[in-house]
């Protein structure tokens, strides 16, 4: 039997009604080991205006580089309280902010480890299907060898790497159009 996947439709302007109950801006609770980091940024439209009706979803491994998922069969532990999922709506100015632990390196497609990264999915009014991207970390030598980053034209890679703002605080924006348009992936 072979079907095709159902068509995507926009979340529309009233996304909060259905999605707010699962908002999670603290991805790693107290019992989760690792380097604490807060990420903040904005979702910006083609005019550079903040998108107030977007939601950003995050998926990540824990600090040991292990996903809380049955298909991650690495012999590593994952904290019971760690799901690795974040859902953060943007505010009236298009801003979002969440805290977590920096993920460890996870296996990549070439048999090498990937650089630490967060997987990101973005939904909003005016977007008929989700956008997928990643957040990488600054000052990370592994970025140079990362199999996914290496698929990205060198001039655009910076859009995927968060910028240090203060100790433990990083910034990363979703730029939908224009000069610094964020790289979005087709997996």
């Amino acid at each position: 039997m072979s079907l095709f996947a159902s068509g995507s439709q926009t979340v529309g302007p009233y996304l909060h009604i259905g999605l707010t109950w699962l908002n999670t801006d603290r991805i790693a609770g107290r019992g989760v080991k690792g380097e604490r980091v807060t990420l903040q940024g904005r979702v910006l439209d083609g005019d550079g205006v903040g998108v107030s009706d977007a939601v950003v979803e995050i998926w990540q491994a824990n600090a040991a580089g292990k996903y809380a998922h049955p298909e991650d069969r690495q012999k590593k532990a994952v904290e019971k309280s760690f799901r690795g999922f974040g859902r953060i709506p943007t505010d009236a100015k298009g801003r979002f902010r969440f805290s977590t632990v920096k993920p460890g390196r996870v296996p990549g497609p070439d048999g090498k480890l990937q650089a630490p990264h967060l997987s990101v999915t973005v939904f909003m009014r005016g977007l008929l299907k989700q956008l997928s991207t990643r957040i990488y970390f600054p000052d990370e030598r592994a970025n140079m060898q990362d199999a996914i980053l290496r698929c990205v034209p060198a001039a655009r890679r910076a859009t995927l790497i968060a910028r240090p703002k203060a100790r433990g605080l990083l910034e990363w924006d979703v730029v939908l159009q224009g000069r610094n348009e964020t790289v979005f992936f087709d997996f």
């Binding site: 095709f4 009604i17 259905g18 048999g111």
Partner: protein, 239 residues
């Protein structure tokens, strides 16, 4: 070994384009650069795991979330979540939201001059059973105007959000009602190029689940991306 068993790419024509001029809001919100095609890794074929502990027993009954019953025609919406290989997707989270019977959302951005129903919030969720089945009780949502073009009205619809077993199977879509004359005028519905794929977003009247003296039923099956037909050599990852 770090081979992962990948998911299929979308069938051509079954998904909307980001840039769709008939839906005006896509103009400033679609990427102008082509997506970068990349291999699927462990990060994409895993995803958040939810279970029955994440929902309360009455979360799937939108008519019993307040003191009184909401106004409107009670309906039952049920179906199965499958993958492209026809396999049921058990224990996956399904979130829904919708307008009330008058076509109004209890949301600050909804300025439509139609009454808010104090007995209807319009949100529900469920976790599918072992066979991928879900069931909601709700009221039939009303059509409502929007400002996309002159005299624009959204057909009656229910928003659906699903996860599946991987971050890349994430799906947000909308369910429509059979025979709705507004469908062919609706940019969202019409954004899906392939007619067969479009029609699949229209629920079907469901005699089997219609409950006498209680509510009409509609059936809405949802298909998430499925695994590649030929499995690669090793499912395990990492050491």
């Amino acid at each position: 070994m770090s081979k992962v068993r990948g998911y299929r790419r979308f069938h051509p024509g079954t998904q909307p384009e980001y840039d769709f001029p008939f839906y005006a809001s896509t103009a400033k919100r679609h990427p102008t650069q082509p997506l970068v095609i990349v291999p699927q890794t462990l990060s994409e074929v895993t995803g958040p795991v939810f279970g029955y502990g994440d929902v309360r027993p009455n979360d799937n009954d939108l008519t019993r979330q307040h003191k009184g019953a909401p106004l409107g025609e009670r309906i039952i919406v049920s179906g199965r979540v499958l993958d492209e290989n026809g396999r049921p997707m058990p224990h996956t989270l399904v979130e829904i939201w919708q307008a009330n019977a008058a076509g109004r959302y209890p949301h600050q951005n909804d300025q439509h001059n139609a009454p808010i129903d104090p007995n209807f919030s319009g949100a529900g969720r469920a976790v599918t059973d072992a066979e991928g089945r879900y069931r909601f009780i709700s009221i039939r949502p009303g059509e409502y105007p929007w400002r996309n073009h002159y005299n624009a009205w959204r057909p009656a619809h229910i928003h659906f959000s699903l996860f599946g077993q991987a971050f890349l199977t994430r799906l947000v879509t909308q369910m429509y009602f059979p025979g709705d004359p507004l469908l062919t005028y609706d940019p969202m519905y019409m954004s899906i190029p392939d007619e067969k794929a479009r029609v699949r977003l229209v629920s079907q009247f469901d005699w089997e689940h219609t409950v006498p003296e209680f509510a009409l039923a509609y059936r809405f099956d949802i298909v998430l991306r499925g695994r590649e037909a030929t499995p690669t050599e090793d499912l395990s990852v990492g050491e």
